[in-house]
């Protein structure tokens, strides 16, 4: 994209008439761009297509290496098998819950933190911002954080998945920049002249103007939460609260252990069978929700993230 915009001045400088014929160098550049993007697109698409195909193919044929692009021996057994494992189904539900609730909570917090920081008049703004940024570089470490969560009584509750690490400072900075750029001080003053309070202004003026950045925040937080597993590992000890990723991890990574350390061959056989059966369908299940959401947020995404980040 950036390559495309740099081409434009060149074309003007050549001084040709209105509809410009692509010069030879333009053509080469374009060809390069299309090839590069095409290859990139393939690199992203191929694994997705492969996993999709493998998930609806006969497991035996997959492991015999018959599947390389399209499904062979179509069957939905792998998806049926998922429903045999209650923890996968509840895990999926939990993941959706954590992603939705987590994203809403986090976005609300982000907006509430970012807006005041975008205004000139906030006393102690520098100190607050410094405190935020400080946490980007230094963290308390695993055990102190665990102790805090423990003492707050959040251990083994759904809140442990939502409240700790709810706010991402990076998102606060993007959002703050967005506010600084799109909502000028003059607008605030105009509001004040008309007798609008700070909260009223935020609610009636700022929020309606901020749909793109809200969408970006929701998406970032939801995807982040969808992919995360560490908090669940550390804070949860009840299987009914586990998100999908923890279960995915157990199934997909646990069988990667050194077989010589497996005490018993029958246990190894069991794990292999399970993995073969569920591997691809689980990956598909884990990948679908973000894929479904992206297209709807796409148009806001470019706008929001670009404004927020470029002039930071």
């Amino acid at each position: 994209m950036s390559a495309g915009t740099t081409l434009a001045p060149d074309e003007q400088r050549l001084g040709a008439g209105a509809p410009i014929q692509d010069t030879k160098s333009d053509k080469i550049a374009l060809a390069c761009i299309y090839t590069a993007l095409g290859l990139f697109c393939l690199a992203v698409l191929y694994p997705i297509v492969y996993v999709l195909s493998a998930s609806v193919s006969n497991t035996k044929l997959v492991s015999a290496g018959e599947v390389w692009l399209w499904p062979v021996g179509f069957t939905l057994d792998a998806y049926k098998a998922i429903f045999d494992y209650k923890s996968i189904v509840t895990g999926f539900g939990n993941s959706v819950f954590y992603a939705v609730v987590g994203a809403v909570v986090a976005t609300v917090l982000t907006l509430l933190a970012a807006y005041p920081l975008s205004r000139k008049g906030l006393p102690g703004k520098g100190i607050i911002m410094a405190a935020f940024v400080f946490t980007m570089m230094f963290s308390g470490g695993l055990i102190p954080t665990y102790l805090v969560v423990h003492e707050l009584g959040l251990l083994n509750t759904r809140w442990a998945m939502i409240l700790p690490t709810a706010l991402a400072v990076w998102n606060v900075i993007i959002t703050r920049t967005y506010f600084m750029v799109t909502i000028p001080e003059e607008l605030v003053e105009a509001g004040k002249v008309d007798g609008c309070s700070d909260f009223g202004f935020f609610w009636r003026v700022v929020l309606p103007l901020s749909k793109p950045i809200i969408a970006v925040n929701l998406l970032f937080y939801a995807v982040g939460s969808w992919n995360s597993f560490f908090n669940a590992l550390i804070y949860l000890t009840n299987e009914h609260l586990f998100p999908l990723q923890v279960i995915l991890r157990q199934i997909l990574l646990q069988t990667k252990v050194d077989p010589s350390q497996m005490a018993d061959t029958s246990k190894l056989a069991q794990m292999q069978e399970l993995q073969q059966q569920l591997k691809y369908s689980l990956i598909v299940i884990g990948m679908i929700p973000p894929l479904l959401v992206y297209p709807f947020v796409q148009k806001h995404f470019v706008k929001g993230a670009m404004i927020g980040s470029l002039k930071g």
Binding site: P144, Y146, A269
Partner: protein
Amino acid sequence: MPNDHARPGLSRRSLIAGALGLTAAAGGGVLSACSGSSNANSAAPGSGAAAPSVTLGPKLTTVQYPDGYVGPIARQLKPITSEKVTFKIVVKQDVTIGDWKTNAFTKWLEQKTGVHIEWMQVGGTDDDVMTKVNAMIAAGDIPDAFLGIAFTRSQLFLYGQQGLFTDVGQYIDGYALNLQQAMKDYPDTRKLIQAPDKKIYSFPGINDCYHCRASDGRAWLNTEWIKQVGLAMPQTTDEFQEVLRAFKKADLAGNGKTIPFAGYKDSAIDPFFMNPFLYNPGEPWLVIRDGKVDVAFDKDEWREGLKFVNSLYKDGLINRDVFTADEDQLKRYGNASGKPLIGGARTNYWGVFLDIDQKDPQARWRQYEACPPLKGPNGVQYAAWDYTGVGVEVAHLVITKKCAKPEQLVQWADAQYELEAILRGYGGPAFSWAKKGELGINGKQAVYGFDATWNSQKNINWSQDNPMYRSQDFRLSERVNPKDMTFEKPLYEQTRDKYFPHKQPPEMQFPPVTLDQDQAAQEAELRTNLKGEVNQSFAKFLTGQLDPNDDGAWNDYKGRVEKIGVKPYLELQQAAYETYNG
């Protein structure tokens, strides 16, 4: 959770220590604060241990045992307590176990023993689980027990010395009669499970898996292919090379796709290929030579082994991706439709390189037979036999100082060493006692059998996480079902016939030692570095990047491992070995 064992004062101490990065010290701090309250508890049962207060239930008379059977006995389990007791136990989450609360074995055990367990399930891989458990310990958020959490011997010793883990050795005589019997049946058990301070910090899982003792050095060859090229199962390194050459020449897979012999990245191939030259148990390559700990990888015989694998690789007899292929890739070779692509493989068992179909007597896996340990040019022929690493595992149940009534938990653990509990614990409820005349894997009277393949069901057992006692006689007394021939029988027979006769003398094997905290840290670093160097160089020598026939390359390699610290590594292991031998 308001009823959590919240101790503000305590946690603050560990918070400070934790912030300083002193995780282990924090655990210690917590415990020293804790032990004051629990000393009172441990004193009473300690005195109770002197006078045994429990007896075993009567034997079940319906169960048949073969003559000379050594192993767990079916008895009636007696309730441990009449009042309702609850213990908090940390376990691994596992989709095959499902919800620990509703698991069939959980319910059965609770009904029999009267002990209720509040499960705390930790998710993820084994490493993840350890991260969580360490955080819990450092934060003083400690359960009554850990079940199936893979603490190493050194960790058990460390936490045991800090007073966090209970010495269950003091309760075994009085409260764990099944385990006591098992320890009589397997006299080495005590030595293998006790820490250097002679205390026992965990309940073992005894699982005398015969074929597992040879699994690191086992390899397979396709007998159909051997017939087709008109040769016999190789016995020596030369014959082995000849067979592989013949495979390649005949191109039995067709289209030049034949891979005479394959390995993959998750199973080291050196235990198979080095034992014709010197005894090599595989990583960390420690052996005992005249009472001294030594390593195998810097000996001249090792170099001869390198020359051998190098010549195989040069001739294209070993797959090009032997160090990079994963299991999926290997299976693609083995499962290839039409004909298999591989003539042989170095894997633990068949299931790694092809799918096992137990019902089909013509299934492809049955073409592959164990290749015996090869005899080298100097007549050396070892099968690396694991006497001590397999059979007795520590840490299947660890009781902590938090537990107010350890003697009850000890009895609960001991109940799991009873025959029916064992069957339900690893298999599930679908077992039945064998009738008189039904035969087991070893051809003698069977004791039990499973009517369904237990490993495809969920939520019925504890997937071998818990304490258990599966002696060799027990394992081999599983009834053979002619309709569903498991791979256990051929695996047992081929291991017995081909590997067992060539096992190295037991005194050559380096046993599982326990290190103290400082040693453990030093050992971990040295081992990682040595492992990297030896494995990398093995790969380079094999692929010809380094020439094993070149004295310079070999001496450089020896210099590199020397520099990493073979000597301090051996001194450390020697000290631990002497402690182990007491």
